[in-house]
Symmetry: C2
Subunit: 259 residues, 2 copies
Amino acid sequence: MAIANSPQSKEIVTAALLVIGDEILSGRTKDKNVRYIAEYLTTLGIDLMEVRIVGDEESAIVDALNALRKRYSYVFTTGGIGPTHDDITADCVAKAFGVPIDVHPRALAIMQERLAATGAEMNEARLRMTRIPKGADLVLNKVSGAPGMWIENVIVMAGVPSIMQAMLDEVAPKLKTAVRMLTETIRADAREGDIGTELGEIASAHPGVAIGSYPFFDPQLGPNTNVVLRGRDAEKLALARRAVEEMLQRVRAALSGKA
Amino acid sequence: MAIANSPQSKEIVTAALLVIGDEILSGRTKDKNVRYIAEYLTTLGIDLMEVRIVGDEESAIVDALNALRKRYSYVFTTGGIGPTHDDITADCVAKAFGVPIDVHPRALAIMQERLAATGAEMNEARLRMTRIPKGADLVLNKVSGAPGMWIENVIVMAGVPSIMQAMLDEVAPKLKTAVRMLTETIRADAREGDIGTELGEIASAHPGVAIGSYPFFDPQLGPNTNVVLRGRDAEKLALARRAVEEMLQRVRAALSGKA
């Protein structure tokens, strides 16, 4: 991941992801992009705040785009930029921004070069992939000939994971990012219900740190819990960590005293 | 899946899924529920129209609940009904519906029975899991002691996959369902770009059938495409299938003539 030139912001930078495709909603295709993008943005210091998955339907896509682009620093989309009639993302982006869409000279040149190399023919379907909303920049990638696009704060990417990942690498150095979120995971060796009350008190006393509690089942020891602390200030995080560890010692001692 | 008693509707029955949890958005936890629920609802004859993933934040959850419950026949939620401070789904549901929330006698009795069996103690954290918005029915499950809930068209389930799945089995027989969507998949043995124009024409000529095109890479043959037809009318589906197959024969013959 190339983040060398990222302009780093003191503000929090937020993002939403809009996954477009009937095949995800019908369960036919398993989405592989949400977690990849979630981890990628977290590593960059961008907070993914919301994900929406909608079908290949104009009003659903346009409404989601307009709701999300006003609310977050960036909106990433995946899916719907192929050559077939059910690929309508570029048109929906144009509609959401109220701009015309037309064949983009550079996108066309890239496509023609690609076709010359593979021996395939230009036709109406392939020409669809060179249509770009006015004002958008191309997001090039080396995996496929069809570019993604970037217009204002919306970044439009392919749904095929390998192509999407190449596009994300392409835009990453240009994204505004913030101080990275630090994370600590503490294995509680106690059930969630045994530590919940005290954990809530610690969370209230450490407002700069987000504390999450995630139950899991240990095949040897039974029900267990991971406590995850997240924050941007290392000192605050260390204080919260100490508070959690001390609480866990107390609770475990009390439980083993009873057993 | 028990669907014997499902009241079947002639109308289309729609649903949205709201996944709640910071851990999904940070990429720490991979969601395992979206595809399971998508397939489950499709099999029942319920159209999943939208998925949203939001963090453990009251306004995000309440806003999403209120937007989705007005738009779709059902809203399913996963996550945020455990014993810790970051589990706020029940309170958000109460807030979205404008109803009070309090300890539910039956939920309390189930919890006490469970604790008696496991030897764990009742405490403030565990008591949180017995708080149910006024007017909601419990969604029982045999995996965990803490019930889900069903209020108007909103069904609130656990985030842990095994518990969520048990809750879905519990509510399935009571859901209104529609005639099941029929699906056919045709392997094109052609690139998406080679069939896109003709496929779009077939899609326009067969309005009762949704036609999707999904590129994939065959390690032996290279770029390929699956064409997926979906519809509720078997006759219309068969006609569209024939049109696609005839078109594919023509296109493949033309391509091999050139090669």
